[in-house]
């Protein structure tokens, strides 16, 4: 038993191949680590080998898949997948489909054959084991992100699956969360389960892996190869701090009514600088931006600012669009800001080709660019950008970087929340969120740390 995969061709639509000639295998108690840059088809690989691509998404998969004796490419094998295989998706929050932890666990138990009479009792037992006793009837949105993570991990182990698949487990985790997962992986190995980890930052798991593969130009090849996204970076230089006027200062606690996200924040922005906020997901970077923008009220403390106009661009670019065509978005900007279409197209020449499209059907990178354009046009003296460089290919990335620098040179200030070491390298000052506190850190040391984390 174990896992054997040999996919010849797979894709979402006929004659559009996303994955080809990919072979790997793993025995019981073995860990396979699969790496590859973003967009290389890592998630597609998981959807293909679990039968989702073929049976749910209407795509095609040619080849052989054997997950502990089951063939998920056949309808009968696919039916049985939940009994043998557990999958942790990239965004585990989306894995929770019921309002309360209790329902989530009960339904999982029942779908694996537990009779209803015992499912509730068992579920309460499982929840109290992971420290959610007494919270089983709370809405999952009221749990902390750590509690939700423990819940998704517990769901993963219900029914004692023989094969466990993890899709970018580190993507939404801080170092503590990663070590929790590593501990589980070690246990699973001991229990003889086969573990497949698809991961961008492979160094978290290389020591646990028995075999390593890399996805490269839609093919799986043996041996992990370091992702070269961040090699050839220019040398880090700390920008000299020029005397400049303070445009924003935030002092106090931030968060929501029921819980404080960051305590004793002392955050400053000067005119004409780019400030980066870094730290794990869910640590409070976005809350800080929202608090500065005025979308979330400050818990206690105060914000003093000389800025009359600012713009907050959220992590999901879709949320800033107001119409069904790029042309109308541009018209709206022209009407509200007095800029001309030529000026806008000059900023991002790419725009002239996209005018007739719907903003929602653009690629993620293009939507990100349009969002940035809107932010730059409306932003006044302070731009707050949440993850402005995710999903950008190198050429889009460079036009974004150019515009950010231009904006800074015009004396406007920018705050970015980011995970991208390329971007952090270019900023003037860096704040880091750690364990509920925000502090200013040395830029070059942090960049080095970030690159080390992503490499081998």
């Amino acid at each position: 038993m174990g896992v054997y995969v040999n996919i010849l061709r797979a894709g979402y639509q006929e004659n559009h191949i996303v994955l080809r000639e990919s072979m790997f295998k793993a025995g019981e108690g073995e860990v396979v680590l699969i790496s590859g840059p973003s967009g290389s088809g890592k998630s597609t690989l998981i959807l293909a080998i679990t039968g989702i691509l073929k049976h749910v998404l209407g795509g095609f998969v040619e080849g052989v898949v054997d997950l502990n004796g089951l063939n998920p490419l056949e309808p009968t094998g696919f039916e049985e997948i939940p009994r043998e295989v557990s999958v942790l998706l990239q965004d585990p929050e989306r894995q929770l489909v019921f309002p309360t932890p209790l329902d989530e666990v009960v339904v999982s138990l029942e779908s694996l054959g537990s009779p209803r009479s015992t499912a509730f009792e068992k579920a309460r037992g499982i929840l109290s084991q992971i420290g959610l006793g007494g919270k089983e009837n709370r809405h999952v949105e009221e749990l902390s992100s750590g509690e939700r993570r423990r819940l998704t991990l517990a769901l993963l182990e219900i029914g004692d699956p023989r094969v466990i698949i993890l899709d970018e487990p580190s993507a939404n985790l801080d170092p503590r969360g990663v070590s929790l997962i590593r501990e589980r992986v070690r246990d699973w190995k001991k229990q003889g389960k086969t573990v497949i980890i698809v991961e961008h930052k492979i160094q978290y798991f290389t020591d646990l892996a028995d075999t390593m593969y890399t996805l490269r130009s839609r093919k799986l090849v043996e041996d992990a190869v370091r992702d070269d996204l961040y090699v050839n970076l220019p040398e880090c230089r700390n920008n000299p701090a020029g005397a400049s006027e303070l445009v924003l200062e935030l002092r106090g606690d931030i968060g929501y009514r029921d819980y404080t996200v960051l305590r004793d924040v002392d955050f400053k922005v000067y005119r004409g600088e780019i400030v980066a906020i870094i730290g794990p997901n869910g640590s409070g970077k976005t809350t800080l931006l929202k608090t500065i923008a005025g979308l979330t009220p400050i818990l206690n403390g105060e914000i003093t600012t000389s800025v009359k106009k600012l713009f907050y661009a959220p992590q999901n670019p879709d949320l800033v669009f107001v119409s069904w065509s790029v042309k109308r978005e541009v018209k709206n900007i022209v009407k509200k800001t007095g800029l001309t279409v030529e000026e806008l197209v000059n900023m991002f020449p790419w725009l002239s080709n996209a005018l007739d499209q719907s903003p929602f059907l653009l690629s993620h990178g293009q939507r990100r660019l349009l969002e940035l354009l809107i932010a730059l046009a409306h932003g006044g003296d302070l731009l707050l950008l949440d993850e402005p460089t995710t999903g950008l290919d190198p050429s889009l990335y460079h036009s974004v970087l150019r515009e950010l620098k231009n904006t800074r040179n015009k004396g406007r200030s920018i705050v970015v929340a980011t995970h991208d070491p390329r971007l952090v390298l270019e900023v003037d000052r860096v704040y880091k969120v750690e364990n509920g506190f925000l502090r200013e850190v040395d830029k070059c040391r942090v960049v080095e740390e970030m690159i080390r984390e992503t490499g081998v």
Binding site: P82, E110, N332
Partner: protein, 234 residues
């Protein structure tokens, strides 16, 4: 304070549905009052928390109803004068009938929605009432993401404000833009939730029917039968 045993959800569902339906049909002021009285009592026993919102809602509605009654049913003898308008018996009667009707409907709804939480109700859909998965699951998932959608909504309104736009839901273009964003963002979420649900085998869930009435359920159902018989007979 002594807490009354709650009737089962099915009992309350039957009660709420029957009284609302009767309120819908009955045109006689006396019949409607007979229906209203026990419903008010039940609401005050079981569903007092959050009731003020319902009452405020109904009262605002009544103002509009009054205008309607004057506009459409103002016939008969003058009862009193409001500024320059003669309020006639027809208007008063129409107003009373409709407002009691609305009170019954609001209170019967409150009896259901305030006695049990939405989560308890959808649980009962799956575990007690044998509601098909195609109804019970979307309701469960809707309750799951409702706080998320609310957050998205306030973020969208905020973003529009940043871009110098107002959000007036009566304007079809504003509404279209807001609904588009909510759908685009949450469709993506549902797709991955759906994939995860498939991988967890959640489609195997079989809703069940289970009804264990207690004394309070029998009392409530008897009361309901008496109400129906009484209002039909007299």
């Amino acid at each position: 304070m002594y807490r009354m045993t709650k009737p089962r959800i099915l009992t309350i569902l039957i009660y709420a549905f029957t009284t609302s339906t009767l309120a819908f049909i009955y045109r006689d002021l006396y019949d409607l009052l007979v229906l209203l009285a026990p419903t008010i009592i039940l609401v005050f026993i079981y569903a007092r928390r959050g009731l003020h919102w319902i009452i405020i809602g109904v009262l605002i509605g009544l103002l509009g109803l009054f205008i309607n009654a004057i506009a459409f049913s103002n016939t008969g003898e003058t009862v009193f004068r409001l500024f320059t308008i003669e309020v006639k018996t027809g208007a008063v009667h129409a107003f009373l009938v409709v407002s009691i009707r609305l009170f019954i409907i609001a209170f019967a709804g409150a009896l259901l929605a305030l006695t049990y939480s939405p989560i308890e109700i959808y649980r009962s859909l799956i575990y007690e009432l044998k509601t098909p998965v195609i109804i019970a699951f979307p309701v469960a998932y809707a309750l799951r993401i409702l706080p998320v959608v609310k957050r998205d909504y306030s973020e969208i309104v905020f973003q529009r404000k940043q871009r110098g736009l107002k959000t007036n839901l009566l304007n079809p273009l504003d509404l279209a833009s807001v609904v588009t964003l909510l759908m685009v963002v949450n469709y993506e979420r549902a797709k991955w939730s759906g994939i995860s649900a498939e991988l967890r085998g959640l489609r195997r869930i079989k809703p069940e029917f289970q009804y264990k009435p207690r004394i309070v359920d029998y009392i409530l159902l008897t009361l309901l039968v008496l109400l129906v018989v009484y209002t039909i007979a007299f």
